[in-house]
Amino acid sequence: MSKKRTGVFVCHCGNNIAATVDVARVAQEMAGEESVVCAKDYVYMCSDPGQNAVIQAIKDNQLDSVVVSCCSPTLHEKTFRDNARAAGLNEFTCEIANIREQCAWVHKDRAKATEKAIKISRSAVRRVSGAKSLEPIGIGVTRRVLVIGGGIAGIQASLDLANAGLEVVLVEKQATLGGHMIQLSETFPTLDCSQCILSPKMVEVSRHPKIKLMTYSELQEVSGYVGNFKAKILKKPTYVDPEKCKICDDCSQVCPVVVPNQYDLNLTARRAIHIPYAQAIPASYTLDIKACLGLNPVVCGKCKDACEAQAINYDMQPETVVEDVGAIIVATGFDLYGQEKLGEFGQGKIEDVLDGLQFERLCSASGPTKGRILRPSDHTEPKDVVFIQCVGSRDPARHCAYCSKICCMYTAKHASLYKHHVPDGRAWVFYIDIRSGGKGYEEFVQRTMEEDEAIYLRGRVSTLYQQNGKIRVMGTDTLSGENVEIDADMVVLALAMQPSAGTAEAAKVLKIGRDKDGFLAEAHPKLKPVESVTVGVYLAGTAQGPKDIPETVSQASAAAAKAIILLSQDRLTHAPTVAQVRKSHCTGCEMCVDACPYEAIHLENGKAVVNDVLCEGCGTCSATCVRAAIEVKNATPMQMNQMIEAVLGF
């Protein structure tokens, strides 16, 4: 490394800096530095003439490095680095000395502020004197996206991506696409049929040439980095060849095993070989191996015999496929808070205490009761139905601290639907307060109260229990201050939304963070709401936090857009200020490996090796290595040493 030729440009920032800092003196002091060949001050460095002056000075003095003493680097580092580049310099040999926010604006004493500005500028000069020209690290990209979760979020994202021309691998754990939305009957606030709006999308997914749909599959392992992930996916055997299956239902007719049907939230039963819904995508039966008597013609084998299409194949094996993708969208959705955790509401043991989804199934034309609202216990029409909001939500002491956001709305929907089905029934709603922010939402709630005459009681239900074939609901109406007791025929709990079990699994596999409630953590709560902390991994839907369908869809489209933006580049670039290993000094102790937050380091032949693409340049490794064997480019200990000296008047 030969001696640097550095130019220093000190900005007056009008009077912003010059009022407190003697800028001319700063420039003059910098001129005395070994490596400095030109030092100037100017009234507005960031103005056009100022920028041009910098470019000109670089050319005139054959500068190879630049320091601009001005405002915070967050404002103009890019400006001046662009200038440096424009003048033929490498932008990484341009440094900003912040003498405005960190100096001129916070001090009044001119002498002291000037001294400090000199120190700050000098440390920047010394820093660039050890700076190397660096080129951004280019990464080739695989223009494919992995979408995890086949709910509405995953479906929407996949379609957006595929329609933008990207290949998509959509992985769904269950035997069918659709997630929770396919279980809903009508959707607020418009009360359009959920299946009617979702099914076409599901079909589109299944037919889309760019989408590789993998249902009944699980993500097992992800390696690599943005642009170049490798996803290992386990395809569980369904024992039915979807190509051949005619969905004739012959098999299920002969199957001797009966188990609860989880798609109907156990309100109905199904056979071991089954199809979740008539509209399931892929349109094919699935053999539930856990329920099946044993995939053995000797033991049973009835379904196989029954299938004329010969679609059933007992020898199907689990299959692991590795997919190369450039980006990942996580849309693993929600689960409802477990009723078993609710002692006061019968722990899920009272038959006619339902959760919201079960009620949706009851309302659904394709549901267990073909759209009639009947009590599961005795199949009678309930006349008094109590809807309880905020069950498990907003209860930091016992349950979830957060608001599940959609319960107010779907409870209103439930009350309204109920009244539509059972006009003479009474719908009681216990609520804490009504949160109905959203287009048409407040009106919907008002309609439910006024037109559908649902009885809204503000207050909590302290407990409920079975009594004489009814459910005694003990509550308080906090508005009147009176205790309310209702003998209900049915109770519907608006349970809290919580991240699905699959979300936790996916977060673990992807090594992305989760927030305190277990939802996936976004990179920034405001500015990066669909990005995870790992570059190239995006979030969509309720896996990131409670939300309704419109919001889910928006976020899914946003995540898709982010992935499209990412993959629209031929090559991705990564900041070159990454860690590098001094092989001669490394003893392979692995301390850095353990310390790196990004798992960017591994050992090869007893020496540390940094994966440039994974490294974010935090420098934790270099502060950990006692052998000074690893350092971040352009923030080397040598440069730090020089800066410390500069600050202390060396």
Partner: protein
């Protein structure tokens, strides 16, 4: 009670069967009563091995040196090296394994349990014997027995035992391929007793003390040279780039940072010892070799013990406890101390 014959037999056996390449142990030295480290490769040499209160050296240093020697010659070894290791020495082997300095199968540990009897502090002995110069030392129950020009001298071990042995918390070599002696500790003093005594001092007194120590250091670097964990190819106090390979560029040599000057001034000595203590945090296993060898008696153990105790109390970290643990400074816990941060 350990019988030296047992160690010798075992050493001879593993040499004879070719299970190990060589055995590092102690033998009678040429300098007075003190044992000296020796590397033997012939079975018959096993007869020269000794085990007595002067076996102070932490022989894992020789393991490290042997690795360096082979590396310099570009040789690789395919057979393990055996070493005789006390409890504390075995812990340093553990740290070395933890840091991938060797693979477990490269080392054969002939563990000797100190059984609470420890090793001798020659300075204490000199004080007690006042001019008498023993020719040999031996264990006998709770006593050490010395042969001097005035005949046999018997001293209670605790009077002349090394400080670290008085406070010993790892007399039994957990990591071993074979072990001699029983698992027992005497616990003559509480762990970190000397440290606690020192900490009675207040800030100014502490500084007076350390200032005197640091002014006295002559930078002979014996402390670093004797430490099995100071194995870096190049030390922060070296005056030139010491680790030079054909790939090393002139820049790298020219830009070597001089954090600490080579010359022995108080501030540089201070810098040296602070750095050394920090580099050994979570690694030093209190073999106390550094303190023993310091010709001007700088109580280096205090520095290392201080950080060892902090690691144990604040971070629940025990150096040399497990091969699989990440290092003290490459790990953290959510409840690490935070009160000191504003």
């Amino acid at each position: 009670m350990i019988r030296i014959e047992d160690i010798r037999t075992q050493a001879r056996d593993i040499l004879e069967t070719g299970e190990v390449r060589a055995v590092i142990g102690w033998r009678r030295g040429s300098r007075g009563m003190a044992a000296e480290p020796v590397l033997i490769s012939q079975p018959e040499e096993a007869e020269s091995l000794v085990w007595d209160p002067t076996c102070f050296h932490n022989l894992s240093l020789n393991l490290v040196q042997e690795r360096k020697r082979l590396a310099r010659k570009g040789m690789a070894s395919n057979k393990p090296l055996a070493l005789v290791a006390k409890g504390c020495d075995a812990r340093s082997v553990t740290v070395l394994l933890q840091e991938n300095h060797f693979r477990r199968e490269d080392v054969y540990v002939l563990g000797v349990s100190c059984e609470g009897s420890g090793v001798l502090d020659e300075r204490k002995l000199a004080r007690v014997l006042d001019g008498l110069t023993p020719d040999s030392a031996a264990y006998d129950g709770d006593d050490y027995v010395f042969q001097t020009e005035e005949g046999e001298k018997r001293l209670p071990a605790r009077e002349v035992m090394a400080d670290r042995c008085l406070e010993c918390r790892s007399a039994y070599p957990r990591l071993n391929n074979a072990v001699f002696g029983e698992e027992k500790t005497r616990g003559l003093e509480a762990p970190f007793a000397a440290l606690s005594r020192f900490e009675q001092n207040r800030g100014a007194e502490r500084w007076d003390f350390w200032k005197r120590q640091f002014e006295r250091c002559i930078r002979c670097f014996a402390c670093r040279s004797v430490c099995p964990l100071c194995y870096c190819e190049e030390c922060v106090v070296d005056s030139i780039r010491l680790e030079v390979t054909p790939e090393t560029t002139a820049d790298e040599k020219a830009n070597r940072i001089r954090w600490i000057e080579r010359s022995a001034s108080r501030s540089d000595n201070f810098g040296y010892h602070m750095t050394r203590a920090l580099h050994l945090a979570g690694r030093c296993i209190d073999c106390a070799e550094c303190e023993r060898v310091c010709p001007v008696h700088i109580p280096l153990r205090l520095l290392n013990n201080k950080l060892e105790r902090e690691a144990r109390e604040k971070f629940g970290y025990e150096p040399g406890a497990s091969v699989d643990l990440p290092a003290l400074v490459s790990s953290f816990r959510d409840d690490d101390p935070n009160e000191f941060i504003r």
